[in-house]
Symmetry: C2
């Protein structure tokens, strides 16, 4: 089996971070008063390497896959919704379609493992298999399949980037049952308990929530993935769309494309990418704080703090998309504000 | 002395709120999964009264004034910065100028009480007096002056709205010393202790912070404004730009213009407007959570929850401006998403 190479993912250049800090401190505002926006601007500068850059080409990627674990009754929605929603994405009626249009981003949708036949264009065909296996009883996928999904994610982003030259991307997903798979992955990768990382997904009642916890606890005991081996975690309890997303995160870091994390599932994939290549997270930006408790654990692990607290729990990249204007604003402030000197404004009393 | 009339500020129509909820529950997403965005969309629908409305004309208002209390050494910046920043706002170099440009909003700047001569256009001349008095020793302004500032705020918005037909506005300010005045107002209006509502403004060291607390405690004892009388609170410890902002909030509610609250000072003015006319807050939207502890107290009081948590503490309307795309997105989602029926997507398992 081929392995993955991550030597082309570089940490951010410290001297560029310092140069950015020095500029921030000369802008006409009290030092540090833009809070997280200053941290964002610093990292964007270190990624772009120059202020001669506009954030013009934004894109949202939505990867879809189905999950064998839904047969255990862990989801409030029937499995066919994954497939139906793919059509809704490209027809413009889904939340992420509306957000992409209104925020000026391209939307790319791919099937990495949805039940049923292949979809017509413009849905990209990256299907590894029709749904994962039920990981209560067997591994969700083989390691070869996990690797194939990761690599398909990588080449998909690479090809599209050659054509569109992305300045900023957001990564989302669709897959009935994938909050269950993500909770299992996060518990395995962080060592946290199932209960502390598991939420109600998109709408479980208290009984079904307890059912989800119990299924997850049994499944993790049965599969017993080793947290230090992200490929093993992915293949034992992951999903095709999550593996694909991990590939996109890794490729974004290699191509130096800043990349916004959405909610629970998107963050599980980011955590997985970071486990493969810790420097990759230098290119990741948090967006919102989801209702799902595992999401916060992942962001803490990646040392990222969420900008938007709106109690969202939809997925699709919806929270990540909402962060586009905040990152763009941070970048515009950094590039275009006057300095104390240029504006003739007195600085702080000494 | 003339008084203020608020009978033209109406609460939101309950039947429109219900109609909005019913539509939200039919859209292709799990019920409630857009979190706060759903609450925003509901209120916008009840304010606009129809889905046949685009959020096109956005504006940011920045009101400036100086504060006599700065003579007590409660600010890290010299007083002339207020005046210098006014010029920076209209020349395009300030944070709010960059944000207005990049977020597609008009920027209106007014002098409600800045030290020194009147400014040239485009800075609107609403100066009531050059700086408030030092409220450690005497009332910051007379009640007539407070009323004049409120009314000038009202007529300013009314006139501009006749010309520009605003769909959404954000209210910010500039004034060295105005976090001190705002803390005094919030303590008086909410009954909270000075310490629990006072922060470090735009950059006080720990010694100066203790000084600010001590000055505020002495001043509040000396002025003793009655919290149930917002005009008395404004005149005893407020500022001209804060009174002007209160006027804008009240007028926005009367004209049914949804109106975004910025940080501490902007929220003190919103609190004051709400104290005059409780229904006014139906038209207010929270944006970010400032570092200043008093800000959270005000938002709690107004039953609003901040969307953006970025540790900002700049003022100028900067945090409020960042909420524009979130409110616009909430509205676009509400108006443009498909329903389960129209998209042929299965809804939740019963």
């Amino acid at each position: 089996m081929e392995s993955l190479q991550f030597s082309a993912i570089h940490p951010l250049d410290e001297s560029l971070l310092c140069e950015a800090q020095s500029r921030l401190d000369q802008l006409t505002k009290p030092q540090g008063s833009l809070g997280e926006l200053e941290e964002i601007a610093k990292r964007l500068f270190a990624i772009y390497g120059s202020r001669q850059r506009e954030i013009r080409n934004k894109a949202i990627f939505v990867l879809a896959g189905d999950h064998g674990i839904v047969r255990e009754g862990v989801s409030a929605y029937p499995q066919e919704v994954t497939r139906q929603m793919l059509a809704n994405f490209v027809e413009g009626g889904a939340a992420i379609s509306v957000l992409a249009h209104s925020l000026g981003a391209r939307l790319f949708v791919a099937d990495f493992g949805v039940m049923g036949e292949r979809h017509p264009q413009p849905i990209a065909d990256k299907k590894v298999r029709q749904s994962t296996r039920n990981f209560l009883y067997e591994d969700a996928m083989t390691q070869e399949e996990a690797l194939r999904a990761i690599k398909q994610g990588m080449t998909w982003l690479e090809e599209l980037h050659q054509k569109h030259h992305f300045d900023l991307i957001a990564l989302g997903e669709m897959g009935i049952g994938n909050s269950t798979s993500s909770a299992a992955m996060i518990a395995a990768l962080t060592g946290e308990s199932i209960r502390s990382v598991t939420g109600r997904g998109t709408g479980l009642n208290p009984d079904l929530y307890e059912k989800k916890i119990s299924v997850l606890e049994q499944a993790l005991r049965a599969r017993n993935p080793r947290g230090e081996n992200p490929l093993e975690v992915l293949s034992k309890v992951g999903g095709y769309e999550i593996a694909g997303l991990a590939g996109l995160y890794l490729e974004a870091a290699r191509l130096k494309i800043p990349c916004i994390i959405d909610g629970l599932i998107s963050s599980a994939a980011a955590l997985c990418a970071w486990s493969f290549a810790p420097h990759a997270s230098h290119y990741f930006f948090a967006s919102h704080l989801s209702c799902e408790p595992g999401h916060k654990k992942v962001l803490d692990c990646l040392k990222l703090s969420p900008l938007i607290h709106a109690g969202m729990r939809l997925g699709e990249g919806s929270g990540a998309a909402l962060a586009f204007p905040i990152l763009e604003s941070a970048w515009n402030l950094f590039c275009n504000m006057a300095t104390f000197e240029s504006a003739g404004v007195s600085s702080k009393d000494k």
